[in-house]
Amino acid sequence: MHQHSKYIQKELEKDSSKKNVILVGNPNVGKSVVFGRLTGHYAEVSNYPGTTVEVSIGSLRIGTQRFRVIDSPGIGSLVPLSEDEAITRRILNTSNIHAVVQVADSKNLRRSLHLTLQLIQMGFPLILVLNMADEAHSRGIRIDIRKLENKLGIPIISTIATVNKGISELRSHVGRGGIRSGAIRIVYPDEIETALIRIEKLIEDNTPFSSRAGALFLLRGDIETHQWIEENLDPQVIEKIDEIVISIQQSIGQSIDQIITRRNNLLIRDLVKGCFSQKPVKEHRISEIISDATMRPLTGIPIFLGTLVVIFIFVGVFGAIYLVELLESYLFGEIIVPWMTDVVESLIPNAIIQEILVGEYGIFSVGIPYAFAIVLPIITTFFLLFAILEDSGYLPRLAMMADRSFKHIGLNGKAVLPIILGTGCATMATITTRVLETKRDRTIVTFILALGIPCSAQLGVILGILTAVSPLGLFIFLTTVTSQVILVAWMTAKLLPGEKSSFILEIPPMRIPKIENVILKTISRVEWFLKEAIPLFMIGTLMVSLASLIQISPEIAIQTSVENHEGTNILELLGNFMEIIVVHGLGLPKDASISFILGFLRRDYGVVFLRDQAVTAQQMVVGTVVLTLFVPCIANFLVIIKERGMKTAAAITGFIIPFAFLVGTVLNHLLNLIMPLLSQWGLHL
């Protein structure tokens, strides 16, 4: 942490003649758009060392003055809990601050004013920007800017940054500099006030902001301020401060943080009185009615199920049956693969190379048809529907509904976001766990993601293939995996009994998807899939092909041969090794062992390979469940190592592999018992 402070200090003091303008704000207030408008987008974006948090630095010229503009990460509070908040605090420790520009969401004035009060208390030269004025206006919100300005004692500018409105006024205010407000002094209960005065005297001017704010931070248990005094004060003084903090905590008997927040809430209520009004918007448009319906469980769940049915029909029937049949059986089966086989056999005399290219597990005979004839049509139809859902604004509503369900099982609100994002890409979602406040939270959510959340590509392929094989099988798959996710989520809630944080998401209006957006997003995702997945598909096929060619003789001498079948090849060896688990436990054919190895390269590839190995629908269902719960793909595994360390990655994998096989084995034996009974009622897999 100390190193980080030094780094940012060094970056910011490169040109000490430049005055600093720091943008701060809650997440989702359009701060970055304001930054873009002020700096003209020519920003230097770099990762804060040792973290993944990005800080943008740009420059602004007003008349003859030149400013350095720093866009800090969005925060909820200045008492840091998350990595983002800690970095914003460190940025605010910068010297030569000309103005701190707080960008706030006009629609959510009360929430924004919590941060304003903290910035005022810290004594920063402040400018408050009330952004998204148009959205607030459309919701019937009216803010008396001049009245609020007088009450807070700082300049306030109303902006609509997306259309450049109010930006020139902001520029001229930035030119003049922020104002240190003298209008606000929050008085806390006597015991806290006494403690504050005692700490203030001890720290004097040894914090980068006002001594009262420093004392308040210390009372709230802020680690950043404590580190600061550790670097600047005598150990005896620090000991005295710690004693005051401990004694006030013991005498009050409740959280100081809560008392301070409650007092701030009361003040904010007084501040907005007479400055803020909201007329109820009577107009209920169709989109709003649909929007409400998607978020209420009573109507939202049937809408979600209806959406799934559409996905089953479009992806499972049209994509996985008709398009796959057309491409696999006709285009590749009758035209491309036979032609490629002829070409390879006539041009390349070497039997081993022939086998690698067009043999039983050849790149042209298996790898390319798997990728282009099976996965590509399924993925394309799935991405097309996904783009429609995305562009319509349905996804955040689904996230809200999921949040409600997660809350019922007591899961930490912030943990919901990475889990939802995991259905897009578990690798990215693992990176997103950084938004969680503690290392423990991050590790547990990473574990949930690795265990039971299928990524979009895998989900698309599974939905498509299972619908084509057996709709009842798909239902069993969804029920098993969902129950596992609920189980681990419940376990998480038990392991993380702390305060439930809320899941804050700005809900965009429902809209009719634009055809142009949908097509371009689908093209982009398909392009991404081709670039990322195809090379791995080819590597996987090559691995299997080589494994089938390398013969291990009874004397353990390794030789490569197509003709010589005296020994056992690696595939057979693997099959023998995993026989007890795969054949007796999961009820799959021996060769299906390869699917699990390939699933580690890419889960969707494992599923496609399994499709050719599994003989019955039950085998397909059991196999896909194991593949979903099985170790994440190689990209995700590497990110887990990078984010959580080798030990945690090994521990997660060490749990997941036996767990996945155990669930698969239980499911297989359960289906062996249940299916004969179900078939009496006409239900077949």
Binding site: N28, S32, E516, K521, W528, E643
Partner: protein
């Protein structure tokens, strides 16, 4: 280019979309990641879709210019 996240509505410039240095697939990836919520979606300025978008934009501008020229001609 200012874009809006499809999940959380956060508006940000394409330069800001995190490059996800930790991801082993970052090199070939044409996705952009919302700096607010982490949602990943196609970067409209990159790859094939970026090319199509640019072509569409070009076509629209040409069409508008033609319309303007036509209108000016009619007025004069």
């Amino acid at each position: 280019m200012i874009i809006q996240c499809s999940l959380c509505s956060w508006e940000f410039s394409t330069e800001e979309g995190e490059v996800c240095a930790s991801c082993p697939m970052a090199g070939s990836c044409n996705m952009i990641r919302c700096p607010n919520c982490g949602y990943e979606f196609p970067d409209p300025s990159k790859g094939l879709s970026g090319w199509f978008r640019a072509k569409l934009e070009q076509h629209r501008r040409k069409k508008e210019k033609k319309k303007e020229v036509h209108q000016n001609g009619t007025q004069s």
